[in-house]
């Protein structure tokens, strides 16, 4: 008769508490786990960095000018090397996390929110309203970002808020257009027409049907946008329009190290690596979240050892 084989997949309801279940799923995807750990380290540095290493990040020492990395001659602080003024790169990297993350998070959040709002409006409402929004979006895409940065920073002073504003404005069109494209498509689906006929509020349609479809793409774009924002900030700093010393950001460190690529590669390398690792971690965690959030995909994580097909 039936062989006494029972699939040993434990359903969520059999777990004792919900928290370990999430962590277990995270552990199933080792890369995402590593990414999450890295992000926690970054968060820690962002919050506590300036308090812990603030002083070391600004102590100049011309004798340690451009000290090479990977040697403990000058102490553990200089394990990543020294910058052209002999300051510890490790300390600067850690302290700079706060500004960098603040700029990146604020910029992407702002751009995402504004872009989504207007993209939804443009896609859903249509007509002349949509045309106006789209043309403004096109104008934003065509306005040279450097000129915009210059104008904003001429009228106001270079400050974290103004840098965020300038960077966010240039990112809005991408989110706006992405969500609008999705809305245009979903809007025509039968169930949406049905929902409208039934009198469902547009908000509900948006949240239940449109956002879930477009969320994965938006998150992918947003995580990579974080990198782009950090690098744009680097470009702005290089031209004197972004954050300036004594503020520290990873972008500023990369810009300062640009002239030393041949002779002191570590100046630009570590902040660049930090940006890349942050981006990768964000992406890995985002992809993991996506699998977890979608019941149709979750099995990939729940059943360990089965082929992913």
């Amino acid at each position: 008769m039936m062989a006494d084989t029972v699939l040993t997949v434990r359903s969520p309801s059999q777990e004792t508490s919900r928290v370990p279940w999430i962590l277990r799923l995270l552990w199933r995807d080792k890369f995402a786990f590593a990414g999450a750990v890295f992000l926690l380290v970054v968060l820690f540095a962002a919050i506590f960095g300036p308090a812990l290493l603030g002083k070391q990040a600004v102590t100049m020492n011309l004798l340690a000018r451009n000290a090479p990395p990977l040697s403990l001659d000058k102490g553990w602080l200089f394990v990543l090397g020294g910058d052209p003024l002999g300051r510890s790169l490790l300390a600067r990297l850690v302290v700079g996390t706060q500004n960098t993350m603040a700029i990146a998070a604020l910029t992407v959040t702002m751009a995402l929110t504004v872009g989504c709002l207007f993209g939804l409006l443009a896609g859903y409402v249509g007509g002349i309203f949509s045309a106006i929004i789209m043309r403004i979006s096109d104008i934003l895409m065509s306005f040279p970002s450097l000129l915009l940065a210059l104008i904003v920073l001429y009228v106001l002073q270079p400050h974290l808020a103004t840098v965020v504003f300038v960077l966010a404005i240039t990112r809005v069109p991408l989110y706006l257009r992405t969500i609008r494209a999705e809305v245009l498509e979903v809007r025509e689906r039968v169930f949406v027409t049905a929902a409208r006929v039934l009198g469902t509020s547009p908000l509900r349609i948006v949240f239940r049907h449109i956002l879930p479809v477009v969320a994965p793409t938006l998150i992918t774009i947003a995580t990579l946008d974080v990198a782009f924002v950090m690098l744009s900030e680097s470009g702005l700093s290089f031209l004197g329009l972004g954050m300036q010393a004594p503020d520290i950001t990873w972008g500023l460190m990369i810009a300062s190290g640009q002239n030393y690529l041949k002779t002191a590669w570590w100046l630009s390398f570590w902040p660049g690596l930090a940006i890349t690792l942050t981006t990768m971690s964000l992406n890995l965690v985002a992809n993991w979240l996506r699998i977890v959030a979608d019941p149709a995909q979750r099995w990939r994580l729940e059943t360990k050892g089965m082929a992913n097909d």
Partner: protein, 305 residues
């Protein structure tokens, strides 16, 4: 279709005019450029003479009136730096940028669709992990690095390629590689994400479950359905490139619109800034019209609005 394009072109034109007006007035907020064109120790009288000659002291509206009249004959005024018609400068710089952008974007799109789709076939599989790693690295690496390191490795150390300049096909290899890395990385991820969603659609699962012979046909259908966000993102990246690939142009000495604009902005060469913005805007608006048409072609359910 023609009516649609015509309407879009019309309201695009109105927007572009609005844009140019906006740039005109906003750019002048950044001050009078006289100091930048005078020797540093020129006496005040010399500066006043220069400013008067170029109308910098006139009220903004008067200056705008002059500009608008000129615009009617396609005369953007003369570049302050080169004393040549601004439009000429811009039109000379464009072809380089367009060629760079076209080649880089095409390469990026083709490569990323292939790689992204293959990665989505087996999420979290080996190919996916490796391609994600490479694409994420590419999307988050500073352009400047890649450019300089590329030159140091391939030109100085290996002597395989020339360092810079535009002469032969070889001169374009490193610049195009530098330019294409980021959009490619970004679009690979978008394609991958989009394809994963597309591949989890009911019809796909059913077809595979039923053991359909040639999975690749379904695959191709899925790709088509996944293209919507990809086109949007690709369009955005292309627009960015049309605005000029500044780093590549500066490092490799390619006389494109990016370098022209950055120099003109630094030198407050208003005429060139205005001409440049106008030409760029026309290209970007046209691109966006094409993208909207592409949406409709991809998914006939989309009513064009």
């Amino acid at each position: 279709m023609l009516r649609y394009v015509g309407l879009r072109a019309l309201n695009g034109l109105i927007s572009i005019i609005g844009l140019v007006i906006l740039v005109f007035f906003l750019a002048r907020l950044t001050g009078d450029p006289t100091d930048l064109y005078m020797p540093i120790d020129a006496p005040i009288e010399a500066k006043q003479e220069f400013a008067a000659n170029h109308g910098f002291n006139d009220p903004a509206l008067v200056q705008f009136g002059r500009f608008a009249t000129g615009l009617l004959h396609f005369d953007f005024g003369e570049s302050l730096r080169q004393s040549r018609p601004a439009l000429d400068l811009v039109l000379e710089a464009y072809p380089t940028t367009l060629i760079l952008s076209a080649i880089s974007m095409t390469l990026a799109i083709v490569v990323s669709i292939v790689v992204g789709a293959l990665a989505a076939w087996r999420p979290n599989g080996v190919f996916d992990r490796v391609s994600s790693f490479i694409s994420l690295a590419g999307a988050s690496i500073p352009n400047f690095w890649v450019a300089i390191v590329g030159v140091l490795v391939f030109s100085v150390w290996l002597r395989w390629l020339p360092t810079s300049g535009t002469g032969t096909v070889w001169h374009w290899i490193i610049p195009i590689t530098v330019l294409f890395i980021r959009p490619c990385g970004l679009i690979v991820q978008v394609v991958r994400g989009s394809m994963i969603s597309a591949l989890s659609a009911a019809y796909v699962k059913t077809a595979f479950a039923k053991g359909v012979k040639d999975r690749s046909i379904i695959f191709v259908h899925a790709i088509r359905n996944a293209m919507l966000p990809v086109i949007t993102v690709a369009g955005d990246q292309a627009a960015g490139m049309i605005n000029g690939a500044v780093i590549v142009e500066v490092v490799f000495g390619f006389p494109g619109i990016g370098k022209l604009m950055i120099d003109s902005i630094s030198f407050r060469d208003f005429a060139v800034i205005q001409a440049g913005v106008l030409v760029t805007a026309i290209a970007i608006f046209a691109l966006n019209i094409l993208i909207d048409i592409a949406y409709a072609m991809l998914d006939p359910r989309i009513r064009r609005v």
